[in-house]
């Protein structure tokens, strides 16, 4: 087996693990499980970055993998856990629609992602393994989690999963976006998480409610 084929196989395996963690996030009934799942997902993405870096000799990818590991696999999950403890969350993940319906939707998204990317032409050949459909599926499933969960923290987990999908796509499709852009994007994700955390805590301190539950603004 040539080196390129080995890398394809590894990326495909990691893609499967990514989808598996995504499914864990979708079906998680406890917020802490969802946080662990998204941390694991980020770890797999960092590994994928390391594998591609080794294969291509692209130093930027090492940096990206390192940043992903530090920020998304360690720092953000830690912050989320801290908020969970701080808020003393009594309620867990509250789905808007039944879990079964969410899972059916999730499966449909995955199938459609693979279908969509097989219809792509020449650019597809430049892409490592099945990375593109996995990336599309993660991005859309992250949004699905945000749309079908009522608690703020779960929505944040969905957001991180969605960003993971984009990072994975960028890595596998183009060996990563230019380094400076990747770092800028990571910085934005950190800042967004910070602002969201502040909002969640402020609502918790003024009215004893989850910010995502507020629905007074209508019409």
């Amino acid at each position: 087996m040539s080196a390129a084929e080995t890398v394809h196989t590894i990326i495909d395996d990691l893609g499967a693990l990514l989808l598996f963690t995504m499914i864990l996030i979708v079906i998680a009934s406890q917020i802490s499980r969802a946080i662990y799942a998204v941390a694991a997902q980020s770890l797999f993405i960092a590994i994928a970055g390391g594998v591609l870096a080794m294969f291509t000799g692209n130093v930027d990818l090492w940096v990206i993998a390192g940043v992903t590991l530090a920020v998304k696999a360690i720092m953000l999950p830690w912050v989320l856990h801290w908020v969970v403890r701080r808020m003393n969350v009594r309620r867990e993940v509250e789905p808007v629609i039944p879990d079964a319906a969410t899972i059916v939707l999730a499966v449909a998204v995955v199938v459609m992602s693979f279908d969509l990317s097989t219809s792509l032409g020449t650019v597809r050949q430049a892409i490592t393994g099945n990375a593109l459909p996995v990336g599309i599926a993660l991005t859309v499933l992250g949004v699905l989690v945000m749309a079908t969960r009522k608690t703020a923290l779960t929505q944040m987990v969905g957001l991180f999963a969605s960003e993971n999908g984009i990072f994975f796509t960028a890595m596998a499709v183009t060996q990563g976006m230019p380094l400076i852009i990747e770092i800028g994007v990571s910085l934005d994700v950190i800042l967004a998480a910070l602002v969201m955390t502040i909002l969640v805590l402020r609502v918790r301190s003024t009215v004893d409610a989850d910010i995502a539950d507020l629905d007074r603004l209508r019409g």
């Binding site: 957001l159 969201m196 507020l214 603004l217």
Partner: protein, 487 residues
Amino acid sequence: MGETLLWILPLIPTVTALLMLTTRDRRIISAIDVGGSAILAVLTLVLASEVATGGPRVLGVFRLDDLGLVFLLLLVVLTLAVSIYTVGWFRQAVEVGNMKAESLRSYFALVHAFVATMVVTILADNLGVLWIAMEGTTITSAVLIGYHGHQHGLEAAWKYIIVTTIGISFGLFGTVLVYAAAADVMGGAGAMSWLAIMKIAPTLDPGIIRIGFIFVLVGYGAKAGLAPMHLWLPDAHSQAPTPVSALLSGILIKCALLAIIRFQTISAAACGSAFPTEALLVFGLISVVVATPFILVQHDIKRLLGYHSVEHVGIVALGLGFGGSVGTYGALLHVVNHGITKALAFFCAGAAIARYNSRDMRVIRGMFPVAPVAATLIMLAVLSLAGTPPFSIFVSELLVLRAGIGQGHWIAIAIFLAMVVVIFAGLLHHVGAMAFGAPTAAAGREGEAWSPLVGMLLLAAIMVVLGLTIPASFDGLLQRATEVVVG
């Protein structure tokens, strides 16, 4: 000189924001606020004259062409007007307790940080930098929307940050796809530069660009307030402090439109112009139709103006969708006209809300006797927003309509006209009752302060002038900007 200005420009609001943090004195804060905005405006005018004579300026990831200049000019004019307006507005807000005196400086720092991110959005040639700056606008303005700190403001801020962050995640995904297609042709280096991509655009793989454009349109469309991704917009516009509402509606959603236009040009070159324009047409029509019923039943004046922005973003999308030079010219002119007029309308609404201490239009009655200038200006602004001649919005709506007729989009035109007529009636009904009649007991009787009025009159003057005539230099700018889009 021009190149140097490109990196100085985003620094001005950044430095202004940092200076805010050094003082607590309200007078000094106001002076820095107006001063910073004025310097930004002057430097932009210098840069504008250089671009007009010497063509686009490039520096690293920044580039200013005529298209960006249209948006940049709108931004600096609105920033200046907002600064002048805020001088008097925040005094009143502190008095009634809407703003806390001790946290004022962070408010002003955030406003200028918000402006800085928008400047970068407009100047960005690199599509990745464009995205980073766009997320930056979300982060800074989300804090501003929830600034009052009450439950409704925080709810609006949360909805805003979630919806627009989902949105621009899609935008980033689309950007990655376009980058992948470009890197496939030209290699990774420079494949994020809009200029570089445009040079090779006809050779890009149309399949992947098509998917990329849809992701970008939905993503940045959420930020632009195109229906059905507009859910955050009425909440955010109604809950934000009034000067921030004016910036959100006047320029932020236009920055997202600029991003869409950048990708539209790439997509038009790669897969033919029919594909992106049809997509824009669909979203434009949905926006105009969805906004209408909410405008009719609205009681909250700021929500009314928010939904009305959805309609007008829809009209801009329609102009771009009808396409051709007439449609694009009309759309760009509409961006400017709507930005100026809507900011003015928010200013007047803010003055009325302060006077009556309510956002409910059933409470705000009889403004003419108690605040004649603000009442006159709000009538003028609303007549203009409704599309009455001789105001500026009438001109740009007419151009959009003409482009549609030229392209034979009869169904779209019929829907568009019907909605515009209904909204016309609805708006005049709402605001006529606010301006005329006997003032309710809630009305404050104090005189009108100069500071909000100067900001309002500045915008009103521009609005009236643009309705009567489009100055030759501005017309030239719009035509060159149109060429950038149409090719």
